[in-house]
Subunit: 304 residues, 2 copies
């Protein structure tokens, strides 16, 4: 395993432990066991934890508290998982498989899956508001604001809405013919905003100066875009076994992606250019930012 | 109109304006118009705004900033509305009517209603994290924590889960035979936690001392319980026209309420005793707390 892969795996283990602690605390006093069980099913035991990695790495090299970064990364992961649980619902993308397991509404039921997503989002903000995450309330409030802006109507939730519209869900049923620019905008909201937020939260915890934050912001946006183009390419190239979720779905829905609009080769070129752009944004940093540089290459080149 | 009714209506108008401002800000940059339209449909133009009233009144007489209280009240209303939108979904309570209008999934569609609820919850925390709500980050972070604890798996979302379980949704389809104590616990989570939180948020903004906060907490819990018993009684006694939503549904589902378990007379007696308990909790306060005293009587006696 490369150094990067080892570090990513180590943060994934730490994140798993942080999520376990957070979920344990949420069982006090005595909430319904079915809800807690389904929340644990959705959250634990899977995922590369790329978002927590970005938060932890950024906080580390900007001088932030490691434990705070881990809890903030866990919070962003809770929002990520909530969005997956809701996106998988029958009324949304109607997916049966997620991270190689039945989706929450298949393993449990729709009502439980709706409540699981709702409660995971709440738990994310509870975690960020909790003094256990950071002693400085100014940092806690800033983390809340950053995550809410990335997750809301102008970010992730808005991007999911645009995605459903692009499928033609609310019109005549025919997919919209989106330009490459419109697809990039949609993806920047749906996926990019939260990935960029993961970096931003690390910079908040590290108390990075304005110039560093601007550079890290540019890095986060480019990484997020690279990640999403890579995802579209994987949907065409990969197998469900390798990916742990259904593939070929975009094409089956006639959904516009950068692959369908630009072609596979141009999409690959854009993915690689975005990864280079992310790395270039870190030019002012030394070897301490190598973890982020590798994360950009990983996000662009990942096989699952 | 009584002084109380006038004051309630005035806060409802102020809350409407605050919600309008918050929703306007959420349209910047340019999120999907369908999502924003559906969020506005769900949030604006309805409701007694009892929760914001409790926050605003409590902040007023504990010496808190009025604008901060209004924005915090608006945030709690956003969480309340999100929970209504999701509870109304076909997979949950499957309601067609809310505040006299078609529910969001009927006026729009299920996917939009899921995203509306998700984005409203996010917007609530964005509002509380925003320096525009209060200059003191310590207060902002405390508001986030209070609302998250009231809304999550140990509060509102957990209570909704217990409610679905009580209907027999996940077992043999037969409603559970709950004791009066179990029903009270369920209702304290589902409805009481958020009402008590509305009072708590006012006390946080007002910087109330520990003794005042304990008294206000006791008030909030009793008021929340009175409100919910009154709701169960209205479900039996009122008409859909008067209530703006379907009635008789609890009985039709064979769902245990304090009315079905204790009988109508005993339920009325419990409702009135809880209102008295709420008023008694305010004994240490003078006439400045009269708004809260009347709110307790209103919550217990309301006709819609």
């Amino acid at each position: 395993m490369s150094d990067f892969a080892q570090r990513l795996a180590a943060v994934a283990r730490d994140t798993e432990a942080a999520l376990e602690t957070i979920l344990q605390a949420a069982t006090d006093p005595a909430p319904p066991q079915r809800l807690i069980g389904a929340m644990r099913y959705a959250v634990l035991g899977g995922g590369k934890r790329l978002r927590p990695f970005l938060t932890v790495e950024t906080a580390r090299f900007t001088g932030g508290d490691a434990e705070a970064a881990l809890r903030a990364g866990a919070a962003i992961e809770l929002v990520h998982v909530y969005s997956l649980v809701h996106d998988d619902l029958p009324a949304m993308d109607d997916d049966e498989l997620r991270r190689g397991k039945p989706t929450v509404h298949r393993a449990y039921d729709e009502a439980t899956a709706i409540l699981v997503g709702d409660a995971l989002q709440t738990l994310a903000f509870e975690t960020l508001g909790d003094p256990a995450t950071h002693a400085d309330a100014g940092i806690r409030a800033a983390l809340v604001l950053a995550l809410a802006r990335a997750a809301g109507a102008a970010g992730m939730a808005g991007g999911q809405m645009l995605d459903l519209e692009a499928e033609g869900r609310f019109g005549d049923g025919l997919p919209l013919e989106l330009s490459a620019g419109a697809i990039r905008q949609l993806q920047a909201m749906k996926t990019g905003a939260i990935l960029a937020c993961a970096v931003e939260m690390g910079a908040i915890i590290g108390g990075a100066d304005a110039a560093s934050r601007a550079a890290l912001h540019a890095y986060g946006r480019a990484l997020g875009a690279a990640f999403q183009v890579a995802d579209d390419i994987l949907d065409v190239e990969s197998s469900a076994d390798a990916l742990g979720k259904a593939t070929g779905k975009d094409a089956a829905r006639g959904k516009g992606t950068l692959v369908s609009v630009l072609g596979l080769e141009a999409a690959r070129a854009e993915r690689d250019a975005l990864a280079d752009e992310a790395v270039a944004a870190l030019a002012a940093f030394g070897p301490e930012a190598d973890g982020l540089r590798e994360a950009a290459r990983f996000a662009a080149g990942r096989r699952s």
